[in-house]
């Protein structure tokens, strides 16, 4: 079986999809580079997207039906794939936001207790 390479991720495992969905939910139609840049900028450089895992993740999310994707031209006239969030994507976003909130409050309590 092909060995699954564990990407060294600056972003907590499992949160990449959440971040991508959130980004697209606010920003409309974006390509991968813009998504990376947006996350980095909004998080004030606290979060950095591992670029190697972004594109496979985007593809997987498109296959799940959370994202729509189409090729288009950037303002610099480069070919890029633009992503939009779908209705299913918004539902998924809601689910992931809830589970993130649960995780955060859980972690908070543990930290506060100690």
């Amino acid at each position: 079986m092909a060995a699954v390479a564990k990407p060294r991720n600056d972003i907590l495992q499992g949160t990449l999809a959440l971040l991508v969905l959130k980004t697209l939910a606010g920003g409309g139609r974006m390509h991968g580079y813009a998504i990376t840049a947006h996350i980095q900028r909004v998080s004030a450089d606290l979060l950095r997207v591992e670029e190697g895992s972004l594109y496979p993740a985007l593809h997987r999310m498109a296959q799940e039906g959370w994202l729509g994707a189409e090729w288009g031209l950037t303002e610099k006239n480069r070919q890029a794939r633009f992503y939009t969030i779908t209705r299913a994507g918004r539902r998924q976003l809601q689910l992931e936001e809830e589970s993130w909130a649960r995780l955060c409050s859980g972690v908070q309590r543990v930290l506060g207790y100690a």
């Binding site: 060995a3 390509h31 580079y33 591992e50 670029e51 190697g52 594109y55 070919q79």
Partner: protein
């Protein structure tokens, strides 16, 4: 990810990865722009952009994780792993593959023969609607599917069940080889509607049609249709054969077409090489037209094939026929027939002719073929057992490996898959080789199933369905025995297995399989020995005459103008002339040749004062020329042979058993014998005893066999050759030291006396007899072969079983050795283990033999099923095989080093 998407990815796998690559290229470009803007050199910017991306290869791996391709690749990997495993144990692989190949191949070959001879439908549209008509209720005989020709014509007119009725008749014709030597061929005479009724389409040209089948032949000359085989053999499948001329039994006919390739006539096993119109019969009988005789009661009997109208069943047709059968039989059969008590209860019958017409050939060979089929099925079972045994013993060796792999995390399904892949590779190779065995086996078997007097017989292609079934069976067995142990291995607790090899279970089921193998081998070896001994006994059986030095020749003297006494003179001149040649010791003519499987017999009684014949005696009879007994080397015990001037049924020679039966305790010479008139023979056209005869016994000859080798010599009465008999073709018997010398002498004489007559193929009586023993020889050959195979298989099985048992018990043996057991004790232990198995196997085999003794007895001659010396020989052979198979494992056990064995665990 859904399965559908995965599957879609298989087809768009390339598309996905190029898309991602394009996206990544874009990303790198954007990143570089940014880095350059913040002051980096383009070179540094590229390096940094790519570094942030990580390894390009890693990306691709991650994206392809979702592919089915990966799954397929894993499967392929399993298969490769399996093959590697087989390469590691080549003996196991080769043994398994060969075993399967023999089982599958032999089964297919034998069943194909059986199928072709007894089960195959005629290759025509709707064969199930064909019907054969005939008579049933003959005393001590199966139904005969023939009717008088005149009756068939009447039936055609009045019946309402059939679309039509067609008429078929077998005929033996001669054709000259390219060098002029005459050869006999099987031909079919068919009514004009025969091919139309079957629905056969010509391969080339046309088939026989209604305008061909007229009395005296059509105005454009007699047509002939070739079988596909003959067309290829004689003309190299050249379409220009159409229109060419052939000398069929001396008369020119024109080739008009070729029958379909798949069509081999309506008699399975007896393929006509030529098809001629039915009315050609008169030409083959020197102008005697048996189809249109002076009275309708004496027309010739022919086979009838009809095609039922839609919606009519065979039973319906039978009912219709039964309504008129009395009238038809009274009108169209001879008084002899009607008065004969054997035919008192005869009725007309209709049966399906889906498989064609029954033949002597099929009747003779069906019993041996079914037996042979049983035998090869047994061998196939044995092969499957052996392969599974091999796999099991291999599994025991690998239990440790499996345990290790389970422990380090190989999934159960993965283990099963790899083991299955290995089994599958074996099964596939076995089936492929089995196909080759079947193809060659069929052609190897065919010569044994030749019609004694014909060049060719059965057309058999290996049957695809049968091959599929036996191959499927073998593959399934292999897969099952591959799957089951692997499943168990996966389920077993790796910890327990790893702790000690001693924990590995002893293969109880493996031992059972070996015992079964031994049992089957015992059965096969005993039957093979019995059969070979019967064959040896049969071939060595005294026939009462010389088999090796008598050569047979049946020239077509019916083509000569001489008739009656002049013909007899001609035969006598040939005999005298041939006998002058140095290569010939003696020569004679005869009406019936011994050992051809056919003889005629009728009732006789002794005549004269004081003789009380106990009852009417059934005597086989024959007409033989001067010098017959000298030529055949049959001794004359009293009186003399016939003299050249004796040419009537007024004198006769009895054989010893006939003489002592008719004249018990008295001299038979110069006494009188006569036919019992009320029971005259029913054979149409009997040229010898057409009238009741009374004859004087001039000699008594030693007993000799007549029709068959495996029947004791019948009571026989010999008459001189009469003018009537000589009007047919007589057989020359030529006794000389070598066949070549005899042929040269005969050819020389023929050139002088009848130069227009061609040579016919020569055969010695021994060759003729061997042809007649075909099925016996085939069966003996095959059973000996299979017995050898079975013995080999059980030896392999026993060896494998003992060998893996010794491996498993190494620790135990080591302990025993350490505790002071001598090598002898250990050897005895292993041999005792083997002998227990052999005892069980032999016991089972003996029980099996009890059940099989019924069918085997039919094939035996002069030996009993429970022949002591055969059983002893089998036991000896088995002991030898067991000894050899046990020797190596036992020696290995005896040389176990106790220290090493105990340290290993």
């Amino acid at each position: 990810m859904s399965w559908l998407t995965r599957l879609r990815n298989v087809f768009r796998a390339d598309e996905v990865s190029t898309e991602i690559q394009r996206e990544m290229a874009f990303h790198v470009a954007e990143r570089m722009d940014e880095l350059i803007q913040s002051g980096a050199t383009p070179e540094a910017a590229r390096r940094e952009a790519e570094r942030r991306f990580g390894n390009d290869l890693v990306q691709r791996q991650i994206t392809r994780e979702g592919d089915v391709l990966v799954w397929l690749e894993t499967l392929l990997g399993d298969f490769r792993y399996g093959l590697r495993g087989l390469r590691r144990s080549p003996v196991f692989a080769v043994a398994s593959v060969l075993t399967l190949a023999i089982g599958i191949g032999a089964n297919t070959a034998v069943f194909s023969l059986l199928h072709a001879l007894l089960l195959r439908s005629l290759p025509v549209p709707d064969p199930q609607d064909l019907a054969r008509l005939g008579v049933t209720g003959i005393a001590d005989a199966p139904p005969a599917f023939v009717l008088p020709y005149a009756m068939t014509q009447q039936l055609r007119r009045e019946q309402r069940s059939f679309v039509d009725l067609s008429v078929w008749r077998e005929a033996s014709i001669t054709l000259p080889d390219p060098d002029g030597t005459l050869r006999h061929y099987q031909a079919a005479l068919v009514s004009g509607n025969a091919f139309d009724l079957l629905g056969a389409r010509p391969r080339v040209g046309r088939l026989i049609n209604a305008s061909d089948d007229v009395r005296g032949g059509p105005s454009y000359g007699w047509p002939v249709v070739l079988s596909d085989g003959f067309w290829k053999e004689r003309y190299g499948a050249d379409p220009r054969a159409l229109g060419s001329s052939l000398l069929v039994s001396g008369m020119p006919v024109t080739v008009v077409g070729v029958a379909p390739a798949a069509f081999h006539g309506v008699w399975p096993g007896v393929e006509p090489r030529l098809y001629l119109p039915l009315n050609y019969l008169a030409l083959l009988q020197d102008g005697r037209d048996d189809l249109n005789p002076p009275t309708p009661k004496s027309s010739v009997w022919c086979a009838v094939i009809g095609r039922l109208k839609p919606g009519v069943t065979h039973a319906d047709a039978g009912v219709e026929l039964a309504a008129s059968e009395r009238r038809l039989l009274d009108e169209f059969t001879s008084l002899d027939f009607l008065r004969n008590p054997r035919f008192a209860n005869v009725r007309l019958t209709v049966e399906s002719a889906r498989t064609g017409l029954p033949t002597f050939f099929g009747r003779t060979y069906s019993a041996p073929l079914f037996l042979m089929q049983g035998l090869v099925a047994l061998v196939l079972a044995l092969c499957c057992v052996n392969v599974s045994g091999l796999m099991m013993s291999k599994l025991h060796e690998r239990q440790h490996e499996f345990a290790v792999r389970t422990a380090i995390g190989a999934g159960r399904s993965r283990l099963v898959r790899q083991y299955l892949a290995e089994s599958f590779a074996i099964a596939l190779a076995g089936a492929a080789l089995g196909a080759a065995v079947a193809w060659h086996g069929t052609s190897l078997l065919l010569p044994f199933f030749r019609h004694p007097n014909m060049g060719t017989g059965l057309d058999v292609q290996p049957d695809h369905t049968v091959f599929a079934v036996s191959a499927g069976l073998a593959v399934l067995t292999t897969l099952f025995f591959g799957l089951w142990p692997a499943w168990r291995a996966g389920a077993s607790n790796p910890g327990a297995l790893l702790k000690s090899r001693l924990a590995a279970q002893r293969g109880r089921s493996g031992r059972g399989l070996v015992a079964i193998q031994l049992a089957v081998s015992v059965m096969l070896v005993v039957s093979a020995m019995l059969l070979s001994r019967s064959l040896v006994r049969l071939r060595g059986e005294p026939t009462g005459f010389d088999l090796d030095h008598v050569t047979i020749q049946t020239p077509p003297f019916n083509r000569l103008p001489q008739k009656g006494a002049a013909k007899l003179d001609l035969y006598q001149r040939m005999i005298d002339r041939v006998a002058q040649e140095p290569g010939v010791r003696s020569a004679a003519v005869t009406w019936f040749t011994p050992m051809t499987g056919s003889q005629v017999s009728t009732q006789f009684q002794a005549l004269g004062e004081g003789t009380k014949s106990p009852e009417d005696a059934t005597l086989a009879y024959n007409a033989v020329g001067t010098g017959y007994f000298r030529t055949m080397e049959i001794r004359i015990l009293a009186g003399r042979e016939f003299e050249p001037r004796e040419r009537s049924t007024e004198v006769c020679v009895l054989n010893q058993s006939a003489a002592s039966f008719l004249f018990p305790g008295q001299a038979a010479v110069d006494r009188y014998v006569r036919t019992v008139t009320s029971l005259s023979t029913t054979r149409g056209g009997d040229r010898l005893l057409a009238q009741p005869v009374t004859c004087r016994v001039v000699g008594v000859a030693e007993d000799a066999k007549f029709a068959n080798l495996n029947e004791p010599p019948p009571r026989t009465i010999y008459f001189p050759v009469t003018a009537d008999v000589a009007d047919g073709n007589l057989v020359f018997l030529l006794n000389g030291p070598t066949k070549a010398g005899v042929i040269a002498a005969y050819s020389e004489a023929l050139r002088e006396i009848a130069p227009t007559i061609p040579l016919v193929l020569f055969a010695t009586l021994r060759e003729q007899m061997d042809a007649a023993l075909g099925s016996q020889r085939a069966f003996t050959f095959l059973s000996t072969f299979f017995a050898g195979v079975a013995l080999l298989l059980s030896a392999i099985g026993l060896y494998g079983m003992l060998s893996s048992s010794v491996t498993q018990r190494t620790g135990e043996i080591g302990i025993r050795a350490a505790l002071g057991a001598s090598r002898g004790v250990i050897l005895r232990m292993i041999f005792a283990d083997a002998l227990r198995l052999v005892a069980v196997g032999v016991g089972l085999g003996a029980i099996g033999l009890l059940f099989a003794s019924g069918p085997i007895r039919h094939m035996l001659y002069g030996v009993s099923v429970f022949d002591v010396s055969t059983l002893a020989a089998t036991a000896g052979l088995l002991a030898l095989v067991v000894l050899i198979a046990t020797f190596w494992p036992a020696r290995r056990a005896a040389t176990v080093d106790p220290m090493r064995a105990m340290r290993a665990d």
